[in-house]
């Protein structure tokens, strides 16, 4: 059971890309190795080979364009889904990143350093900003993440469908404490 | 000499355009229009200098293309930077 919709979307897109990548690469690599093996020291006609390069190029461009743009189609769909800022979130949390910790501000104004408590199933909207340098707010389990940039507010929505303790980490080098810039989200 | 005349005429146009640019400041018109006109005038002046003084109009075509490619980069830079909010 996936911990939330953002992770669902991300993993299904990831699996799609992986299927395509593995299938195509295996095909190419098999041909590649076969040629290397078959024509080792081969002594037939060395100039011709009888390949129509133009045709090959055109076919390849068309095929790969179809593949890439269909992948892109799913990407844009997923992007709109995760980037759409919900109109009525259950809870709006302000996140202030600073060297080297996370501060959460609840809707009622209470501040909490390094831990956030949310009930399971709530639609949370994070308003993420930074008080000093560039950071990146990321929740690995949910595959949800957005930059914390000084002077601007970025939005990120998540829903925790499973109770538990989730780690938040910083994913943009922000100085000496970058490695330990973590927080916890406790879902009850 | 032909060039003397030609260059002087180009120079006169350049000076006149510059004066127009300065005069445009402070007249009562929508400010965007003023800005666009001024930048347009600057662009025309640049083309005149490049074309006549730098001889771009009389150079090999590919030098022009080469130069134009850097203009393409400028457009890419300025558009994405200014609007990539």
């Amino acid at each position: 059971m996936a911990p939330g919709p953002t992770a669902d979307v991300w993993y299904s897109l990831f699996n799609l890309y992986t299927t395509a990548a593995v299938a195509i690469n295996i095909l190419i690599i098999i041909i590649f190795i076969y040629f290397l093996y078959k024509y080792r020291g081969y002594r037939a006609d060395s100039s011709a080979g009888g390949i129509d390069a133009k045709k090959l190029a055109i076919v390849f461009v068309i095929v790969s364009a179809i593949i890439f743009y269909s992948l892109e189609f799913y990407t844009l769909n997923a992007m709109r889904f995760v980037e759409e800022v919900p109109e009525n979130p259950d809870m709006v949390i302000e996140v202030d990143a600073f060297q080297w910790a996370w501060k959460f501000i609840y809707p009622n104004g209470t501040e909490s350093l390094g831990t956030l408590k949310v009930p399971r199933g709530t639609l949370v909207l994070f308003k993420v900003t930074s008080l000093d340098v560039h950071h990146k707010f990321g929740i690995p389990a949910l595959k949800a993440s957005i930059d914390a940039v000084p002077g601007r507010i970025n939005y990120l929505w998540v829903r925790f469908d499973e109770p538990g303790t989730y780690t938040v980490r910083c994913y943009e080098l922000c100085g000496l404490g970058h490695a330990n810039m973590m927080a916890q989200i406790i879902v009850t | 000499m032909d060039e003397e005349v030609k260059y002087t005429v180009v120079w006169l146009i350049l000076v006149v355009f510059t004066v127009i640019e300065v005069q445009l400041i402070g007249i009562s018109l929508v400010y965007t229009i003023i800005i666009l006109t001024i930048l347009l005038l600057a662009g025309v002046k640049a083309i005149l200098v490049a074309g006549f003084f730098q001889h771009l109009f009389y150079e090999k075509k590919y030098i022009g293309i080469f130069y134009a490619s850097s203009v393409f980069m400028i457009v890419a830079i300025i558009l994405t930077w200014t609007f990539g909010r």
Binding site: I29, F32, V149, G151 | S70
Partner: protein, 773 residues
Amino acid sequence: MDEVSFIKKWLTTTNHKDIGILYTVTALYFLVVGGSLAVLFRIQLFQPLMDFLGPHKFNQAITLHGLIMVLWAVSPLAFGLANYFVPLQIGARDLAFPRLNAMSYWLYLFSGLLLVSSVFLPGGGPDVGWTYYAPLSTSKFSPQPGVTVAGLAIVMLAASVTLGTINFIVTIAKMRAPGMTWMRLPMFTWGILFTVALMLFAFPPLAAAVLLLAADRVFGAPFFSSPYGGAILWGHMFWFFGHPEVYVVLSPAYLLMMDIVATFSGRELVGKKYIIYSIFAAVVLSFVVYIHHMFTTGINPLVREVYSVTTETISIPFGVATLSVIATLYKGRIRLTTPMLFAVGSVFLFLIGGSTGVYLSSVALDHWFRGTYWVVGHFHYQLVGAGLMALFAGLYYYYPKMTGRMYNEKWGKIHFIISFISFNLLYFPMFLLYDMPRRIYTYQPETGWAPLNMVASIGGWIFAFSFLIMVVNFYRSLRIGAPAGENPWEADSLEWTIPSPPPEHDFDTIPTMSSVSADGGVETVEHVHFHSLMPFLISLSIFIAFVGLATSIVLTFIGLLVLFLTIANWYRTDILERFSTKEIEYEAYPFEGVVKEKLGVWVLVASETLLFASIIGAYLFLRVRTPGWPLSYTIHDLRIGLINTIILLTSSLTIALALAYVKHGEMGKFKASLFATFILGGLFIVIKGFEWSELASEGFIIGENLVASTYYIATGLHAAHVLAGLLGILYLIFKAYRGKFNSQKYVGVESIGIYWHFVDIVWLFLFPLFYLI
């Protein structure tokens, strides 16, 4: 040869083969430096909670590793081969401007030394990541001078690169042997041409970004510390350079790999024409994909969608090129020698790196991947796997040509097997670590990342060690290798038609081509290689001056003094035309009749255009975002601006006339016009200085606010260009008085004129942008 003349030879040489060797050896040296840093930080990451480097040293290690590998090691290694082989491949006896080439090398060497020496400054070297993200890299968060000094090293390298770019473009455009048409050029030369084209447009924005950062750090000019988008501005400026730069590293290697595959398949490359078109498309596209490094910054979704599509698109031409390589194997006569093994190995790794790049081009997937080890895995497969491995292939391939001896084939193959396996041990686990943040110096045991990191570290150490196999092999083979002969690989291109190692003058007669291989030769004027210590001295003095900035200002003065004297000496020798050579041009389409110097200036102008465009772009970026920016005409005295504009326009007129007069042989008027130009340019500077001091006395100083900072940076950079132009005009005046110009001989006037008009054009835009609107 005794010791003194040996040292003297290497310090003063301008021969492209010597410079090529210098580049190669220096690049390998920096490869070792960067690699050792990696060995160290892989120890730190070997286990959770290791206590080996600690955060400060770790951050310095990864920053220097990144900067060195991307800018000072892999790409210069390719340029070592390029210096050596591009002239040979096109049938020329040297590059277009040999002394500038030496200058590129020495600037490169000293910029690298400057970078490395920044570590010994108080507070250590740069520790902000090779991407130098602001505002972390501003003085508020990283006050140590090492960050500034490393920035200066980057600017110095950018200067080296710009000179190299001009040199290679002019060389390839103008110095091809008779019959060496564009389509007959070997792929490696094409790769270098694409690379220098990328560099030409990518490095000026980098230089601009670093200059702005330096102003921010030194004068407190709040460019990147601005709360209104300073951080984002750095992203734009850096990645506009950063994306093309990764292709700069890849292209020469990737196209060299194609030559090698063709040679060892015993046939021509399939669809060479289409490969060239494809790579050309990729080069153009590479300037409109860079936002994929900023997908998670939250900027305008439309911009990100467009750039996501362009990024997916750029994979297509690479696919075409890779497919052609595989098709070349079909019914070939394949010989799996060491170079061939490395070449096909690099294709494998390129496939994996490219596929993982496609994941990253997806905005939705990159939301997560950005900042994780997936990205690290991706780009190392590209830069090290596809890039460096192909350059290793190149080193093995060309070793016999450069030394005249064969390397040991068995050890070559062992090197390939060990490095290929350990490479994958090192980098493949990084894809599986897609939850682990990049650039963390430690991690907790409960993350479960330990086993994969252990594998990676072990792979890394083996990979680093395997490099030594090559070094030892090459070193020993210098003495005991079997003689190679002219063409050990039965390859086609011109470098294989001359002895190994090639004689000092390369070709006895200039080869002529009626197909891809040479079939004759033409006699030509004798070619002389000059020696000059000036490139070395100039670079050394800049190095000393920069070191002085961070340590003791006395050093800076000494550096500037030596610099001044050397340039004066350069002037003298040039005015006396000690170095003038006579080259005949053969295949020069599409630039027939355009003299080398003039083409060079055009190339320079194109790159300078980008420099100013970046500064203006940064200005507009900040201006549209910062609230309450006053209209320019309310701050500045319009009359002064107007007068200065007219002065500069008039100076353009006079230098245009000067050219017309010299062409008509009217020497009196010619000299008068030069003089007038010089006076007008000088007047412009004087008025500018007066204006600045007025403004400063009103409290309008550079660190005051963004309005002042952008104004001073833009007009200051422009004034520096006017000064450079004045130096040029002065040179013309000297030469004119020595009677070195006549109605047949006026390239200098034409070239410096083009530069002067360019400086004028820049002002035509600065004036409205900074004085009027």
